[in-house]
């Protein structure tokens, strides 16, 4: 199964390693996926999984160590300074921490005008009107123009961050845990807003999170990452109907839920044990074997490959060996 080349985003065999005094951090280790227009891919994982590093590499804050990234067919495997202007316009990001993603010493107006100024959208007189329009789209009143971020609550700051991401008319938005620090009711508001924008503007979202319940309701496809590698990737309904990888099952069983119906969805037999290893010391073979309840000897020796267990549903686990005649699989 081959990824369609003019998909909004195609990531092939992406690697990002950092050299530190304590050793090499294998933050992203051969990650591949593709994302089409209007789709949301949920990239789910805990600390050390590399999900944020994937986002920062796609957006161009890091240059990949190896591998390739294609945006609408064009190669973007370089840092943002080296990319052509229209690409920086087309790919935007909303960062995780509303406290520091907006400069506390600048006003909302200045913050929202920046992308317009940099990309020379509109004339100087025009820009204020455009900024007011952006505020209206995120349902904030006009007098917020003159406020500073520290006067606003976390939810409002994130809405400004979303407005900023929309300012240049992007086609792909990376959302790095945009609502993790926010309360449930504000999260609901922002997520619904994001979904509306996605429909209106045919946006593709790469949604980084640790919250599987949220992805159940937002993502078209879900990918689970652990220590830099993708363990499982599937369309949402197949993923939740048939969670296959042992780590996926451990994640699902750890989620605190509020109703008996949800309890029934959680795999009951796998209980969370062990600490997450540091990405400086990735265990050999399958990275998860130190905590896996079903692992066996080969798991600490050889790395598992991506195998298709049902249509569109791929798992990387030695308990699902690839068929003897298969070529290396490209996950879609």
């Amino acid at each position: 199964m081959i990824a369609v080349r003019n998909d909004t985003l195609v990531v092939e065999d992406l690697k990002k390693f950092f050299t530190t005094t304590r050793g090499v951090v294998r933050a992203v280790d051969r990650v591949s996926f593709a994302l089409g227009e209007g789709e949301t891919l949920g990239l789910v994982g805990e600390s050390g999984s590399g999900k944020s590093t994937v986002a920062y590499t796609v957006i161009g804050l890091f240059a990949p160590t190896s591998g390739r990234m294609l945006f609408e067919g064009k190669d973007i495997s370089k840092t943002v300074w080296k990319r052509p202007r229209e690409l920086t316009q087309a790919i935007q990001i909303v960062f995780q921490d509303p406290g520091t993603s907006l400069n506390p010493r600048r006003s909302v107006q200045q913050i929202l005008e920046l992308p317009l100024q940099v990309h020379r959208i509109g004339t100087r007189h025009d820009r204020k009107r455009r900024v007011i329009e952006l505020l209206q789209r995120v349902e904030l009143p006009e007098d917020y123009l003159y406020k500073s971020p520290h006067m606003l609550g976390g939810g409002e700051r994130q809405m400004i961050a979303v407005a900023r991401a929309l300012a240049t008319g992007p086609r792909l938005i990376l959302l790095d845990e945009p609502t993790s620090a926010l309360d449930v009711s504000i999260q609901a508001k922002i997520i619904n807003m994001l979904l509306r924008f996605q429909k209106e503007m045919h946006l593709a979202y790469l949604f980084i999170t640790h919250d599987l319940s949220l992805m159940r309701n937002v993502a078209t496809r879900v990918a689970i990452m652990y220590l830099g590698r993708v363990c499982e990737i599937a369309p949402t309904d197949k993923f939740f109907r048939n969670p296959t990888h042992p780590y996926t099952q451990m994640l699902l069983s750890s989620i605190p839920v509020v109703s008996k119906e949800e309890e029934a969805v959680k795999p009951a037999q796998i209980v969370s044990t062990g600490e997450i290893p540091s990405p400086v010391n990735v265990p050999p073979g399958c990275g998860f074997h130190t905590r896996c309840t079903v692992c066996s000897t080969p798991c600490s020796e050889s790395e598992p490959q991506m195998v298709e267990v049902e249509e569109g549903h791929f798992v990387s686990c030695l308990h699902f060996p690839p068929p003897a005649d298969a070529e290396s699989v490209q996950t879609r």
Partner: protein, 294 residues
């Protein structure tokens, strides 16, 4: 459009009022501000406020020399019969001028170098700037000032240049520390991702977050510069007689201690109060620039 024009000055006024509220919560900072305002007033208007402005120049009247503090001469007179109160006012003038000149020469280059070195941390720009800074910092300020002043003709101007030469690295160090920690913040990365120019990131994103520390340091530095200037004058390398300078006055007056104590003590106290005022004000700046928490 009209309402917008009305709104802008209203908001500025509101911000000022709020700033004053935050500042005035600490009575000590207000005391510092009061001292600085009084000292500045005396310094600027010295020729008009001093009872004997002529005494600031060449003036001799041995009849009244070394007389104790009295109604006519509240701080007494020195060995030449000059009114010490007037000379203290003029001395403040020199001290404050020195502080203002040095800081205005030093802050801009120091801050810019610090921003560049901090943002480009790890590259050759960082290495070059910070090693040069280290070299300058390795030499004690006073010693270098003494060296420079003794090589050139001693004068107020040369003293100011000498002190300026040693002072800029402190600002570079300060801003370097701030910039290196700030450049990893998400708002800086947002600006980079949006495609903003390096100029914008340095001066519109990083610099506003350093302003609080810079102003606090500037206020504290006024005190230091005044002390160093006075020290230079004390050893004869600053302002030359008959220009009144607080340090020189203390030096000259030291010979007459403890009998004619007023000749040395009043100028010394003037230095002390001025430096204290700037220090207290510096603390107040920190409160003034602090972001209010929601």
């Amino acid at each position: 459009m009209n309402t917008q024009e009305q709104v802008v000055p209203q908001r500025r006024l509101e911000r000022l009022r709020k700033g004053w509220y935050k500042f005035s919560r600490n009575p000590i900072s207000v005391a510092g501000l009061a001292i600085v305002v009084v000292v500045a007033f005396l310094a600027i208007f010295a020729p008009y406020v001093s009872p004997y402005p002529a005494h600031a120049g060449s003036f001799v009247d041995f009849a009244t020399s070394a007389s104790a503090p009295s109604l006519r001469h509240p701080f007494g007179t020195d060995a030449f019969g000059r009114d010490i109160l007037s000379r203290v006012f003029f001395g403040l003038r020199y001290s404050l001028t020195m502080g203002a000149v040095v800081l205005s020469l030093v802050v801009l280059p120091g801050v810019v170098l610090g921003l560049l070195a901090g943002y480009y941390q790890g590259t050759w720009i960082d290495t070059v700037i910070m090693r040069v800074t280290d070299i300058f910092l390795a030499v004690p300020a006073l010693i270098l000032a003494l060296a420079v002043c003794s090589v050139l003709t001693p004068s107020a101007f040369n003293a100011m240049m000498a002190v300026s030469l040693m002072w800029w690295p402190w600002y570079t160090r300060l801003v370097y520390g701030l910039a290196t920690s700030l450049r990893h913040e998400f708002f800086v990365q947002s600006a980079e991702v949006i495609g903003a120019s390096r100029w914008h990131i340095l001066f519109r994103e990083l610099l506003p977050n350093c302003v609080s520390s810079i102003f606090t340091k500037m206020s504290l530095d006024m005190g230091w510069v005044i002390l160093i200037g006075s020290s230079l004058s004390f050893v004869g390398l600053g302002a030359q007689p008959p220009t009144p300078d607080l340090g020189t006055m203390v030096a000259d007056g030291a010979k007459y201690l403890p009998d004619q104590w007023w000749i040395a003590i009043f100028p010394a106290v003037a230095i002390m109060i001025t430096v204290l005022g700037f220090n207290l004000l510096g603390d107040g700046f920190r409160d003034l620039f602090a972001l209010e928490e929601v």
